[in-house]
Assembly symmetry: C2
Homo-oligomer: 259 residues x 2
């Protein structure tokens, strides 16, 4: 497997995501092959949609101020999280732990890094449709059947530092059942399902991580995945948080079971 | 960046981990270069130590039976988890959510897959010292300065399927501070620290995942990491669970903050 980072000129306004990706791949003297998985950072996809917010324009409502003082966080950020999150569990200083598009994410994935001071980047709108669009355009304009991953980086429980997670995919099966035992649930699932798309996001993260602004695209080549033409959505990558062993196990905690 | 999977003949008894890795790399017509990161599955490392338990030999104590009926899980597995876990939060059917060596892990990382029926594999003993030993041996016997990752796969919150996590490392800086802002804590940490070792584990997972028994080793080449000779331990990769935003956020849940 090869992972090739693609440098891209930093951008600050809405732009044509596909065109910039293709032009940048050419400018790096790289090319696209059939069955390549092309990874693009969610932040870059969001920027192409103009999903950048000037924090000065955000007016916090009363509940945002309440949360802000409760969790020692910026009231404007609290306001944005309230607007963006599908569910908020609770908070720690500076952060609200939320669910957004089926993902457990601090602050609904809103990020203030790698943008000009005073701006925040939200998640891209309809990330799965963006991935489908990119896949279609690579087929139509480049004649290549590729897979797409829109990748974010995320803090994992108890770990130091972020690793990759797939916000959206298109063109390939994102979770591989290693034993063909699709009917099993619960404990069996943990060991038989392999989060290919999340692992791809982490692999790409290693070449994209250096300077987030300038290497937002990576090509993953030589990986054996099952290509397809389905339209995926978040429920193909994530489960409802009520079903999650971490959420359930931690919510019920207090009953210390150690000897 | 290149990731090369190394096939290894399945083993069932204690063996010399370094020798098997080197021999297998040669048998695959591959080689090791300076600055390569060599990934080995934690399960394979555990097998080399004979950390395989015959479930028939496990005699559950009273508290294991209690947990077993409370969480609808095998009493012998409950007994093993009680022995291995550093902390147990709670359980869901079939699983106990635990902390083991600083990592949040279902069932203390004990795994019954990819071993003969009736056996379970525990985590390797002193995984960081195993990593140091491998690094030293690659230097002494092969004349190569390499990094080592002992990798496990782990279910992430709300995700479907497992991705990679570094159980132990040696020879390189496992977490990269992307801004040189080592003095910052809290919300800043989330966006500035990059879990290189975990991402490497996930990248390797993509070539190792196919058949866990036969590809337990991978070589990651061409990655720019900071090589070193420190002895790391789990606190270089993980934080105390009491500090974790997920653990804290979820434990305090109940206060629904959505509008």
């Amino acid at each position: 497997m090869k992972v090739i980072g693609i440098r891209v000129k930093p951008r600050h306004e809405r732009f044509d995501l596909f065109k910039v990706m293709v032009d940048s791949i050419r400018a790096c003297n790289e090319h696209v092959e059939d069955d390549d998985i092309i990874v693009v950072s969610s932040k870059f996809a969001a920027m192409s949609q103009g999903r950048v917010i000037d924090m000065n324009s955000v007016v916090p409502a009363k509940d945002a101020y309440a949360i802000s003082s409760m969790h020692n966080m910026d009231a404007k950020m609290a306001e944005l999280v309230l607007r963006e999150a599908d569910h908020i569990f609770s908070g720690v200083p500076g952060f609200l732990l939320t669910v957004k598009d089926g993902m457990l994410a601090p602050n609904a994935g809103i990020d203030r890094s790698n943008v000009m001071h005073g701006l925040s980047i939200l998640y891209p709108v309809d990330a799965f449709r963006v991935a489908d669009m990119l896949r279609d355009k690579f087929l139509i304009h480049e004649g290549r059947r590729v897979g797409i991953v829109i990748a974010d980086s995320r803090l994992m429980p108890t770990r130091i530092g972020t690793s990759g997670v797939a916000l959206a995919v298109s063109g390939f099966e994102p979770v591989k059942d290693r034993r063909g035992s699709k009917d099993l649930f619960g404990n069996v699932m943990r060991v038989t399902l392999h989060a290919i798309a999340d692992c791809i996001a982490s692999a790409a993260n290693l070449v994209m991580g250096e300077t987030d602004e300038s290497t937002p695209v990576a090509i993953v080549r030589g990986l054996s995945v099952r290509m397809d033409q389905r339209s995926y959505d978040w429920s193909d990558l994530a489960i409802e948080y009520e079903q999650c062993i971490y959420v359930r196990g931690l919510s019920m905690h207090g009953s210390k079971l150690v000897r």
